[in-house]
């Protein structure tokens, strides 16, 4: 388990760990885009075969809870945050799916690319659209690591999105109230034009 608010507040590095196989160059591209949003060095880690993944019985999905526990077990280095990134669809047993998962105040999070891809919904591929969605999801989970809960302001990045349309219409910025509670590295930069 993380060290609470201090974990995110004192973070010095953000590491992205591939879970399973990702499309070529996807993690580096995500790291590069993410560095434009956070004032922390963002590093793409090599794959780690040792990371145990569990599939949910009878469902073609990874168990996000089990994955998060495995990532948290690895995120023991102080001042480092770890985000697992998978191309697989993820879920927790009680929900049909989740876009990502993080424990408030923790040091690790997991994000799935599956439902951010327009092809999941039978639409043509759109790298920019998907890239924006993934960044939004990662920033949302980082907000949870910084102890933020969901925000009632539906224009805030911390508002709950239960479908991809909500992810798209939800603002790409933290509202002033949430922003005030974020560590400086997460609120320090404005979203670039393609995010707005």
């Amino acid at each position: 388990m993380g060290t609470g608010a201090e974990g995110a507040a004192e973070a010095e590095t953000l590491e992205l760990l591939p879970v399973g196989t990702l499309p070529g160059g996807a993690l580096d591209e995500l790291a590069a885009r993410l560095s434009r949003h956070v004032e922390l060095p963002v590093r793409a880690l090599p794959p780690s075969p040792a990371l145990g993944v569990v599939r949910l019985a009878g469902r073609d999905q990874l168990d996000a809870n089990a994955l998060l526990l495995a990532l948290e077990a690895r995120a023991t280095t102080p001042r480092r945050l770890l985000v697992g990134v998978t191309a697989d669809d993820i879920a927790i047993p009680i929900f049909t799916f989740v876009f990502g998962l993080a424990r408030q105040g923790g040091r690790a999070a997991v994000v799935s690319l599956a439902r951010t891809d327009p092809r999941f919904y039978g639409l043509p591929a759109d790298a920019d659209l998907q890239g924006g969605r993934v960044i939004a999801e990662v920033l949302h989970e980082l907000g949870h690591l910084a102890t933020l809960e969901h925000c009632a302001n539906r224009a805030c990045l911390m508002s709950f999105a239960g479908n991809v349309e909500r992810v798209d219409v939800r603002g790409r910025r933290f509202c002033p109230d949430c922003s005030a509670r974020l560590p400086s590295w997460l609120r320090g930069r404005r979203a670039p034009p393609e995010m707005v």
Binding site: N65, P93, F95, E149, H150, A152, G162
Partner: protein, 452 residues
């Protein structure tokens, strides 16, 4: 949506933990129980807004737990969860009062919407209760008061008939409080949130009364420029109070009988009957049975109205009610006129008790209102009462009713300096009626020199 207190009851740890964390992330307070026993213990200890119950649990299942939780906290909104989509179970759950039913695994959006809807439902229900309470306060009928055995019997009857939809005929002299009793019945009945529509049948000519009662279509008679809903339609779901029913003409009696029996109204000039849902309460100061014998009132209508009869005796037959009524009016008028709490002097109490109150409770009410207006200080002295009240002869009053009426009108006129408008108000009759009584009893102003 403000933060909710949510209880999650499921025998699976993963479900409890996942949902608990999800709700907490959403800003709610979530607590978990792994079985029905634990859930009942938690609900007995503290308040929750919403409970999510798994239907299939070892021991007591979700449906049985739902019943017990609803009994422990009727305000709790219950949502059932199951891994098996079964219409039969869903119907059973909803019939038992569950707010909704959700199938595992949930779409996150569906759960979010469900919780949002449940919160709105709770908020609307709370608002509705609050409004009903304020409505009950604002629209509360004047209380039915009385220490006498006869009034206690009336109160009992009011309580009994309120629970039913039976037609009620209230009889009693003018001013005894027949409308107050009707309002008390309506206010205590299941129809209380719907209108109570009062029709003074004695005050309107036949044609206008028909139009008022049954409505009319545009152009149905000269002057009927627009469609007009009648009182029965306006009272939909509520109560129609037909005051002075004894004054209704034979033609309207026939029409009333049909509407009351069939619950169908046809507007004047209209052809299609309209179904209406109302309760009938009628009142009269006349002896309707005598009117039936005399042939001026239809017997079938009389029996249709007289399902339950409540007779309110005149105030002179229940003098023990005078103090409690007088105190009630004194407090009410003092408050309405922003006066300090007032009390009666012993002399005033004696005067109130000695007077026969031929105008009944309404006359007493008017006398107390006058006393509050003209009285000074916190004690009502006899001088604040109308002259005819304090000058009333002690002991038994005049012999016949006509003699009592004559004497009473004379004293009211004298007390008001023969101001007809004021005297008519005290007597609660219109000026035309008062003039006709003056003629009938050959009453004269004292300074006319002719005596009386």
């Amino acid at each position: 949506m403000s933060a909710l207190r949510i209880l999650i009851v499921d025998d699976e740890t993963i479900v409890r933990d996942s949902l608990g964390a999800w709700f907490r992330q959403d800003g709610h307070q979530a607590e978990v129980a792994e079985n029905a026993k634990e859930a009942l213990r938690l609900v007995a200890q503290s308040h929750y807004d919403i409970a999510l119950l798994d239907i299939k649990m070892p021991g007591m299942d979700g449906l049985e737990l739902q019943d017990r939780l609803a009994a422990a906290d009727p305000d709790l909104t219950i949502i059932l969860m199951t891994a098996y989509a079964s219409v039969e179970t869903a119907v059973k759950a909803m019939k038992a009062g569950a707010y909704d039913y959700i199938v595992k695994p949930f779409d996150p959006d569906d759960l979010s919407m469900l919780i949002r809807r449940a919160a709105e439902h709770r908020s609307l229900r709370a608002e509705n209760l609050r409004l009903k309470k304020s409505l009950e306060t604002v629209a509360a009928p004047p209380p039915l008061l009385g220490d006498s055995a006869v009034m206690k019997h009336v109160l009992e009857l009011v309580g009994t008939v309120s629970a039913s939809d039976a037609t009620v005929l209230i009889t009693g002299e003018s001013g005894t409080g027949k409308e107050v009793v009707a309002r008390a019945i309506h206010a205590a009945s299941a129809r209380r949130y719907n209108p109570m529509v009062v029709v003074n049948c004695g005050a309107l000519p036949e044609g206008i009364l028909e139009s008022e009662l049954f409505g009319h279509e545009a152009g149905s008679f000269t002057g009927a420029r627009a469609r007009h809903k009648g009182k029965f339609e306006s009272a939909e779901g509520g109560t129609v109070f037909l005051d002075e029913i004894g004054e209704v003409t034979p033609k309207v009696q026939v029409e009333l009988l049909r509407v009351i029996e069939e619950k169908l109204v046809t507007r004047l000039g209209g052809t299609a009957p309209i179904a209406v849902d109302f309760r009938t309460i009628a009142a009269t100061n006349r002896d309707l049975q005598a009117a039936v014998r005399a042939g001026s009132f239809r017997e079938d209508l009389f029996w249709r109205l007289n399902v339950v009869n409540i007779h309110i005796p005149p105030l002179r037959e229940r003098p023990e009610d005078i103090p409690v009524l007088a105190e009630h009016f004194l407090a009410r008028f003092a408050q309405a006129m922003n006066r300090r709490p007032m009390r009666f002097s012993p002399g005033t109490k004696d005067a109130l008790a000695a007077y026969p109150w031929p105008g009944n409770v309404r006359e007493l009410q008017n006398a107390i209102e006058r006393a509050v207006v003209v009285g000074h200080g916190e004690t009502v002295e006899p001088s604040a009462l109308p002259l005819h009240v304090i000058q009333a002869p002690a002991g038994p009053g005049p012999g016949s009713l006509a003699e009592a009426e004559r004497a009473h009108i004379q004293s009211v006129l004298d007390a008001s300096g023969w101001n007809i408008t004021r005297a008519a108000r005290v007597l609660d009759v219109d000026r035309v009626t008062l003039y006709s009584k003056i003629r009938k009893y050959e009453l004269k102003k004292p300074d006319d020199g002719n005596g009386s």
